[in-house]
């Protein structure tokens, strides 16, 4: 962990702080990670963030729909995402992220693991832009 910090701190030394669109901390809690697996129900492939909705089955058979925020399309395509191809409605995905402070079923996504096992980043790390 110290190595990571050393590298990041050196890299960030003197630099202007970076935020994609807004401070991560404004709406999300970096102390509350969450991972869910479910079926993609809807994708809003739009600026300034994409949103995608995942239906997650509960232990008692009910379904909870989670709303995930992600990078804007321009950032996703530069990391290998393709609209309507990489992730489609009906796909089973595992999503890792951090919970929203208010809405209990909303989160900032960091990465998505697809059915074939490959994983792509989908949003910024916790804390981005909060300085």
């Amino acid at each position: 962990m110290r190595t990571v910090c050393t590298m990041l701190c050196a890299l960030l030394a003197g630099t202007v702080s970076v935020a994609a669109h807004h401070s991560f901390a404004a709406e999300y809690d970096g102390e509350k990670p969450v991972t869910v697996t479910g079926v993609v129900a809807r994708i809003d492939w739009m600026n300034p963030h994409i949103y995608f909705y995942v239906d997650v089955k509960g232990d008692k058979g009910g379904v909870t729909q989670w709303k995930f925020e992600g990078y804007p399309p321009n950032m996703l395509v530069r990391q290998g995402w393709k609209r309507d191809v990489t992730m489609k409605v009906g796909d089973t995905v595992k999503v890792f992220g951090w919970r929203a402070r208010v809405n209990p079923t909303q989160a900032a996504s960091r990465d998505v693991t697809f059915a074939d096992g490959h994983k792509l980043n989908s949003g910024p790390p916790a804390g981005t832009g909060g300085q």
Binding site: G14, T15, A20, Q79, Q131
Partner: protein
């Protein structure tokens, strides 16, 4: 004992010498650096698509790691250490209030145009087009643009306060120096709560130190809020093959409503 002839001895010495220094040469040899391109008038040519911040966000962790390794191999020095803004007490109190509200008030979150220098480090590329009489910067974020005359003209006398201010440039040796004034107060300079007044003056220095990089230095002066000039740095990285795309921030900006709700509930006085 068989006598060694002079040519044979010379050859043996040459072979021994080559064998002895070859490993050293292999360790010290570095690939030739690509020269910094120059325009017809001899100035460094800054033209190209660049990224000034958030490289890992934009292109992913693997590419950022490759850059770290390349920087280390090239012996690239880190940028000067960051300093907090040298605010007067009143401005620092405002910054602390914005930090306590977790940046919810950020003008950027409302899709308002970022100012200088913040726009330089937004994690989307920008293209510099260098012409003999001016430098043009086209930013993907906000579809923003700056025309920076380098023909010696002064700032216009009919400026209205604006997000990006008014820029004029000049060359100091191989460094493009840009003087920016005429700002409104709707932007943050370089992070949450970094407020300023209309008296802000930003001096940007663009120095292409390698083919792949520009050292960017921004000096912010504002007698209303600062006790002394504040400097920030960034490494701008050339992105060959990249193009500027469209980014329409307001398209589906749900944050405006959600952040307003937070302000009316969590942060209601």
């Amino acid at each position: 004992m068989r006598r060694v002839t002079r040519p044979a001895a010379s050859l043996a010495l040459a072979v021994i010498t080559v064998l002895a220094i070859a490993p050293v040469m292999a360790q010290t040899a570095k690939p030739a650096l690509k020269p910094i391109p120059r325009t017809a008038d001899g100035k460094p040519d800054l033209s190209g698509v660049w990224v000034g911040g958030g490289f890992a966000l934009l292109f992913g962790d693997a590419e950022m790691e490759a850059i770290r390794k390349a920087d280390a191999a090239a012996g690239r020095k880190p940028l000067p250490p960051a300093e907090p803004p040298p605010y007067k007490p009143e401005a620092e109190a405002r910054r602390q209030q914005y930090l306590a509200r977790r940046g919810i008030d950020d003008p950027m979150a409302q899709c308002l145009l970022s100012g200088v220098p913040r726009i330089t480090v937004r994690p989307l590329p920008f293209e510099i087009i260098q012409q003999p009489h001016r430098v043009v910067i086209l930013y993907e974020v906000h579809h923003a643009f700056r025309f920076i005359p380098t023909d010696g003209r002064p700032h216009p006398d009919d400026m209205e306060p604006s997000y990006l201010g008014d820029s004029i440039g000049r060359w100091e040796g191989d460094t493009l120096v840009v003087d920016v004034v005429g700002f409104n107060t709707n932007t943050w300079l370089a992070g949450v709560g970094t407020v300023h007044s209309e008296k802000l003056r930003v001096t940007e220095r663009y120095t292409r130190d390698t083919f792949d990089t520009i050292i960017y230095e921004a000096t912010m002066e504002d007698p209303e809020v600062f006790t002394k000039p504040w400097k920030q740095y960034a490494t701008l990285r050339l992105r060959p093959g990249e193009r500027i795309r469209e980014y329409e921030c307001i398209e589906n900006n749900e944050d405006i409503q959600r952040f307003q709700k937070l302000l009316e509930t969590e942060f209601k006085k």
